[in-house]
Assembly symmetry: C2
Homo-oligomer: 357 residues x 2
DNA sequence: TGGTAACACCTAAACGTTTAGGTATGGCTG
DNA sequence: CAGCCATACCTAAACGTTTAGGTGTTACCA
């Protein structure tokens, strides 16, 4: 039918200039109602579809934000993405997914290539789920591309960049208190690598909590996958011989899954042989045997807030540019947020008086 | 530093014309090695980043594919997206996520708006996880945008459009046989709405299987969310008074989750009071109480195949255009694929001799 | 009647690329 | 040395928009 209709053609067909046509389509002023209607109807009839590339080239506002992740087989990210989607949709921004893991493992080189592509496409902003390299961030800054970190923090010395995270420190203390209330003193933390900055905060919080509770904390690190977690935990347990820790704290739900696998192989029963508690709530936690005590980070909420924050920065930036001001994004101090977490107590952490479902 | 460097500036700085510069950067021929090196080094030094919008405007190949979903709080989609990502990445295509659900529920109007945006952005192709309206498809066809359906089929009468699905019919027969082997004759199917076309195929397969097994099949429909499923199942159970079905078959994992919730509230124990089996394998299935018997659809594999198929169509299209041929995508018959499923037997479906963990 | 303000509209120049078509330069052939 | 071809390069015209700056036309007022 109408595979390619340009604005020029619409204008000609309507008997006006491209100027008038453009104004009419964009609801601008300075066009009589008659011309406006005429243009609109002709456009519809011809099946006119504006060319975004041309618009953008001419200096229109950018309209897609990139979400950078690294190997996400985690339901947590689904929720987060949903939140991001919703907020972005509301602000008329498309969401472009960019994963910088090459086979489940983070890749520096891919990070660079990805940032490059993102610049080439003149994206309006970036949401990153992990701490990018300072080099990448400098690159984005040069080009005035705003960035918001989510569930992760900016690298050392770049604290002015906004981040939306769970209150990981608080979460750890919360867990710690809960563990202390059971009298557990031998804790093991199964952690993912620290390209995800939450790893550090969580660990530090646990250390502090352990100290307060007079407990000791052993940290075991594994690649961020169930398989790796299973192997790492098995090894750690063997190294300890028969002596099980009182409680295992897993850093997120893929690690938890791996841990459950390992425990099932080693015939360790929770919570009697060893209690278990994990970061990241997920839908199935109540139905697992035993029902799992977890921290609820409200991933969707976090995603939504991050996207809203980014969108706001972008729109302020657009205003500033229109006003002829500095095009650099203005990162106000109050953009960084910590979302409080809840501890959802189920049975995996031990019995004690009455229990919640 | 270098917020905006145009090709012209690079060319000037290198003392050549834009033509030469362009050729040099794109590794084209007809440029002496000396000029080429010069241009490249100057470009690097100035921090030149090509403008994709300009390139595209001038007629370069498109470079992002859209993935259309509707309200995906389902881990199944995460795996699928991972597969899509991988294949798209390999073909240098960006992945743009477009959800056409407005509050968890599919919205016709949003579908239209989304297709419009997708056209405006001149995306290179579409992967859809649900059966789009014929109107939308016509729109895409007008603009020669290739489409591949994944985990869903094209609408009535458009069978030439490729789709990558699980062998849903086969899967249903598989389940049916399994149920029959336990002697179950009273089956209930908890299904999602049929904008997802797999609903029909699954139901038809179950009907056939039920007939073969001399069983009866009751179908209960719910919106595609755990909450809705919980409510619908509770209602259905009440309507049947005390008489429980022998087995409940849930259409996907959010529905399964809702069903488990309802069963827990109604104090129905699986598999003794009622067996349960579900479509969609997911990571936690082995650890739920009871461990769940499920169908494994290999979501990542499906996603990967879909993306590869789309990429191939796109590249053939690009070739045809370059050769001056018809720009319409060429959908060959053999692009449509059915991926076989596996039945993973655990305990939720009943006891019988030896069992798999 | 002339002055002027408001309005509807137009022409033409951008935006940053690619590329068709052309022009020097030099080397080879006969 | 004329004739020819490759090679390396250039000029200028697209691609489809937006928009600054300008030109009528009408309407109103003194």
């Amino acid at each position: 039918m109408a595979p390619k209709v340009t604005l020029r053609e619409v204008a000609d067909a309507a008997g006006v200039s491209t100027f008038t046509a453009s104004k009419a389509l964009n609801g601008g002023k300075g066009v009589s109602e008659k011309s406006c209607d005429k243009v609109l109807s002709v456009a519809r009839q011809l099946g006119y579809v504006p060319n975004l590339a041309a618009q953008e080239l001419r200096g229109a506002a950018r309209n897609s934000v990139a979400v950078i992740t690294a190997g996400t087989d985690n339901a947590y990210y689904l929720d987060m993405m949903n939140g991001i989607q919703k907020a972005a949709q509301a602000a008329d921004q498309s969401v472009v997914l960019m994963d910088i893991a090459v086979k489940g493992a983070y890749s520096e080189e891919l990070e660079s290539r990805t940032v490059q592509r993102l610049l080439e496409a003149r994206m309006s902003g970036v949401i990153s789920t992990l701490t990018l390299r300072p080099e990448s961030i400098a690159r984005l800054a040069e080009w005035d591309v705003p960035i918001v970190f989510v569930d992760s923090t900016p690298p050392e010395g770049m604290g002015h960049l906004p981040s939306i995270t769970t209150d990981n420190h608080g979460a750890s203390l919360l867990v710690g208190e809960h563990l202390a209330s059971f009298g557990y003193t031998d804790w093991m933390f199964l952690a993912y690598p620290d390209i995800w900055s939450s790893r550090r905060t969580r660990e530090d919080g646990l250390r502090e909590a352990a100290q307060r509770a007079g407990a000791q904390l052993q940290v075991v690190e594994a690649e961020n996958s169930a398989k790796a977690a299973c192997a790492a935990l098995t090894e750690a347990m063997e190294a300890r011989n028969e002596r099980l820790p009182d409680v295992l704290i897993t850093g997120n739900s893929p690690l938890l899954l791996g841990a459950m696998e390992a425990m099932s192989q080693l015939r360790i029963k929770a919570p009697d042989d060893m209690a278990i508690v994990s970061y990241d709530d997920f839908a199935w936690a109540p139905f697992v045997e035993p029902p799992l005590t977890v921290l609820d980070e409200r991933a969707e909420e976090i995603g939504m807030r991050a996207a809203r924050t980014l969108v706001q920065i972008i729109s302020e930036q657009a205003q500033a540019i229109k006003a002829g001001d500095n095009a650099a994004p203005n990162y106000r101090k109050d953009l960084t947020q910590q979302v409080p977490v809840g501890l959802i107590v189920r049975r995996s952490c031990g019995h004690k008086g009455k229990e919640t479902s």
